[in-house]
């Protein structure tokens, strides 16, 4: 995953301490008297910006890790082809965290102490984020996560941890409620795996649908290791208008198949999160029941008729076709609903470093302050999923969400929420925490 910078990096080991100090003193003096652009022209020959990528190469996150890696490579290539950050190339140092919180924290230490990384980046799984974030604060290492978890905005982490490239599950779930209540039905039965991931959906959506005048008739929690579901379906109340499902894990396809067999043609409306079926072709044999059902998508897997030029540019850059699969293998469906978060986060790091005049690890706090101050992020090549608003206090970004309907094995967007639909009151103000 190491991206070779176009400008060869001069090894710090090749410098003697004296020459480095002399150079630094001269450089600082000279740079201070130069205009901003000239400083960075000078920096063309400097060492690369090192981004420590905490990648889920092994463990339960490996399937996502591959696509997060590919998106990260694509983002870095685009940034480097355009001159890098502050005139310096970006180098990604990828370390496998094994999707393991303890190793995640160790990986952050390696980034800081062995590799001299400027920032850490890229973590998806919530437990790895929660396990690593305290170490990021101790190391004073800005930690840009791409995890969807509500843990950043909930206030349990710290000032060094930011989520500027992907929205959190709380905002995603609550933004679904208005559409579900108006178009699919107000009487909802929820089916979810019986652990934290499922409980988040249960709690956030129950509150949100009630705010829309709807009600949750039943909450059916499925044990995580369950592989047969028919015994749970009779618990779905007859008057249910919408089934909200968020199953994950290897048995999810069995769940869909058995749900279809249970209901037959007279099913209530179905609404789910694409998390269940990331990397799976919705049109696969055995999944016919999904036809006509609805899914949340962070970014639309199938190219839509109104796809923006930025979204098209991003799709081409990550090598994905109009059906969300790799251009080299149409059966290799990407984790398209989520992986844009890596692209956008990498571009936020770039924008933050440019805004703060980031020159090295001493400027890390300036970088964090610059990101905290970002606020609105317009739709652009850097934000191909759409415009966003970054909340500097909660370190969480907010953005549009999509609802798609399965039509002929394709996911066709039927609704795009406003950003306002996704907002909720602040639960923390990280800016009050000292660095």
């Amino acid at each position: 995953m190491t991206i070779n910078p176009k400008t060869p990096a001069k090894s710090p080991k090749g410098l003697s301490r004296r020459s480095a100090l002399t150079g630094l003193a001269a450089g600082v003096g000279a740079a201070a008297s130069l205009p901003m652009w000239a400083r960075y022209t000078h920096a063309q020959t400097a060492a690369p910006i090192k981004v420590g990528f905490q990648i889920h190469r092994t463990g339960i996150g490996a399937a996502y890790g591959r696509w997060y890696g590919r998106t990260t490579d694509a983002a870095v290539k685009v940034i480097n082809d355009a001159g890098g950050i502050n005139g310096r190339m970006v180098e990604v140092i990828a370390e496998d965290d094994g999707t393991d919180p303890r190793r995640g924290a160790e990986v952050l230490e390696k980034f800081a102490n062995q590799h001299g990384c400027d920032v850490a980046y890229g973590t998806l799984f919530s437990h790895v984020v929660i396990g690593s974030a305290p170490r990021a604060a101790e190391l004073k290492m800005p930690y840009f996560v791409v995890s969807e978890g509500h843990h950043v905005a909930s206030g349990v982490l710290n000032r060094y941890t930011l989520q500027p490239g992907i929205t959190d599950v709380k905002s995603q779930v609550q933004a679904m409620a208005p559409y579900v209540a108006e178009n699919l039905g107000k009487k909802v039965t929820m089916i979810f795996p019986d652990f934290a991931f499922g409980h988040d959906h249960r709690d956030f959506f129950t509150a949100a649908i009630e705010a829309q005048g709807g009600e949750v008739l039943a909450q059916i929690a499925i044990p995580p290791a369950e592989t047969s579901f028919t015994k749970y379906f009779p618990k779905i109340p007859r008057e249910t208008e919408v089934v909200y499902h968020v199953m994950v894990g290897p048995a999810v396809l069995t769940f869909v198949k058995e749900l279809g067999e249970f209901f037959g043609p007279s099913a209530p409306k179905m609404f789910g999160f694409i998390d269940s079926l990331e990397a799976v072709d919705i049109g696969s044999p055995g999944l016919e029941f999904l036809e006509g059902t609805y899914f949340w998508e962070g970014m639309c897997r199938d190219a839509q008729s109104d796809q923006s030029e930025h979204a098209a540019f991003y799709r081409a850059a990550v090598g994905v076709d109009d059906h969300g699969a790799s251009i080299s293998d149409p059966t290799d469906v990407s984790t398209y609903g989520h992986m844009f978060g890596c692209w956008e986060t990498m571009h936020v790091i770039k924008a933050g470093m440019e805004a703060s005049g980031y020159a090295g690890p001493d400027d890390r706090t300036k970088l964090i302050e610059a990101v905290e101050a970002m606020g609105e992020m317009p739709e652009s090549q850097a934000h191909p999923q759409g415009a966003k608003v970054f909340n500097g206090k909660t370190h969480q970004v907010f953005g549009h969400q999509n609802i798609s309907r399965v039509e002929n094995g394709r996911l066709v967007k039927v609704h795009r929420t406003s950003i306002e639909d996704t907002l909720y009151p602040d639960e923390v103000d990280y800016t009050t925490q000292p660095f």
Binding site: M1, T2, N4, I55, R57, T58, G59, I60, A62, A63, R66, R70, I93, A94, E95, D96, D97, G98, T99, D100, P101, R102, R103, K110, H115, H127, V128, G131, P193, F195, A196, F197, P224, A225, T227, V248, G249, P250, A251, V252, L253, T254, K257, A279, V280, D281, S284, P285, G286, G319, A325, S326, I327, S328, D329, P330, T331, D332, V333
Partner: protein, 460 residues
């Protein structure tokens, strides 16, 4: 049914490998119950056939065809070259890319050697005697110093060091938090290579044959391969002909080593299942990584191996009683232990097939761009790595049946071997058949277990 299943399995076996499956969704949609029943039926039928078939059929299987090729004399040079290559790769492990799928050390050790070469060794022939990274260096050290081994290998040690080495290796593979981490792996591989080189210098080549776990492992699997030697000539035969040629394990330590190959391989599959997560009280969908199950996996590995050894000894003992034989238990265990090798090899192939199909692509990518400069020497094109075959019903079925085929074929060969070995050990056919009944039951049960492992939902 049996003939059809065998035909399907053999067709798939001979065909190219198409895919991998870490996300098991489509496996759970397969009618694996039917496949498992068919696989177990194959093994049961083999047992029954062996009772009915004339003795000559099995004897015929044990006869190789001698090919008129003589062995070359450049082996030590190849070995020395491999040692140099290994040292180079270890150094890159320390200093190269940190991503285990980009660094040549984990790819070479886990994908090329552990998955690939062990399989080739077990199916084709003894490659290891060529690429063993100790024989060449030891030979050259001996030539330079003009001295032979400094010490005599203590006979009392037997295979104990190799057993310790194998359990240590299995523990590293299954219980270490990060066995693919390049610098960590470099330390382990480099340290082991040096330590074993020291052993060879001290005790001579006997060290490799008794104490060095990898060589003992590779030589054990080589007994299963179709190519071997007869009187200095290369010969080819039915898988297992060399087991029959060599007879049983010479020492109980080697028999135990062979059982450990099967026990460890089985636990390697078991420790990924939802069932195992359930035993540990963990949620497989939010598994907090290998660092949280280090001690549990060590305990499981040791317990699985002890259980297997106990079941094998008890089955053999009951067989001796049924046959009213006065052959000692130790002799019978030594005689029958090599019969588990094809099962262990079948598991190895089945368990790692999907990993090989995915991670093998990273090996090709590395070969295509060995210095990570953006080259594409193999003309693989951009975005060459895919896991689409794991998420497409057709390929998933082919892969699963191939894996199941490896398990079933392994058991069928094991039963044939055990039968042939018994015919040699016992005076009468009746005694041989009776002595095999408990082991045959054990192998039928193990077939079910192996196929169940493949069909079970997995957490990692």
């Amino acid at each position: 049914m049996r003939g059809t299943v065998i035909a399907i399995v053999l067709t798939l076996w001979a065909g190219p490998a198409l895919a991998h499956a870490s996300n098991q969704g489509f496996v759970l949609l397969l009618p694996t119950d039917i496949y498992i029943a068919a696989g177990v039926a194959c093994v049961v039928m083999t047992v029954l056939l062996l009772v009915i078939l004339p003795e000559g059929v099995v004897n015929w299987l044990s006869r190789p065809i001698v090919l008129s090729l003589r062995r070359a004399r450049v082996r030590h040079w190849v070995s020395a070259l491999c040692a140099l290559l290994l040292i180079g790769i270890i150094l890159i492990g320390y200093s190269g890319p940190r991503d285990p799928m980009k660094n040549p050390l984990p790819l070479t050790i886990w994908v090329v050697w552990w998955i690939g070469l062990v399989t080739v060794q077990g199916i084709v022939g003894d490659l290891w005697k060529w690429i063993n990274p100790w024989t060449g260096p030891a030979q050259f050290l001996g030539a330079v110093t003009g001295r032979g081994p400094l010490l005599r290998y203590p006979r009392a040690l037997g295979y104990a060091p190799a057993i310790v080495g194998l359990v240590g290796f299995a523990g590293f593979l299954m219980a270490d938090p990060a066995p693919s981490d390049p610098p960590r792996l470099a330390m382990i591989v480099g340290g082991y290579w040096l330590a074993m080189l020291g052993g060879v210098v001290l005790f001579g080549p006997r060290w490799l044959l008794r104490a060095e776990a990898v060589t003992v492992l590779m030589r054990s699997y080589a007994r299963m391969s179709i190519l071997g030697r007869v009187g200095g000539h290369i010969a080819i035969g039915f898988p297992g002909w060399q087991v029959l040629k060599c007879g049983g394990a010479r020492r109980t330590g080697l028999a135990v080593f062979m059982l450990l190959l099967l026990g460890s391989g089985s636990f390697d599959g078991l420790n990924e299942t939802f069932w195992w997560f359930g035993q540990l009280g963990l949620n497989p969908l939010e598994f907090a990584g290998r660092s949280t199950v280090v001690s549990q996996n060590w305990v499981g590995l040791v317990a699985a191996n002890l259980a297997l050894i106990a079941v094998f000894f008890v089955s053999t003992w009951v067989g001796l009683r049924l046959a009213h034989s006065d052959i000692s238990l130790g002799r019978a265990v030594r005689a029958f232990a090599p019969a588990v090798l094809p099962i262990a090899l079948g598991y190895h192939i089945a368990h790692y097939l999907t990993s090989f199909l995915v991670e093998g692509q990273y090996v090709l990518e590395l070969l295509s761009d060995p210095f990570q400069l953006g080259a594409d020497l193999l003309k693989r094109g951009a975005y060459s790595i895919t896991t689409g075959f794991l998420h497409t019903p057709g390929p998933v079925r082919i892969i699963w049946l191939t894996q199941a085929g490896a398990v079933v074929i392994g058991h069928v060969i094991a039963i044939i071997l055990a039968h042939a070995l018994a015919m040699r050990l016992f005076q009468s056919r009746r005694a041989a058949v009776l002595s095999q009944a408990p082991l045959a039951l054990f192998m039928i049960g193990y077939t079910f277990f192996g196929l169940w492992l493949l069909a079970s939902p997995r957490g990692v």
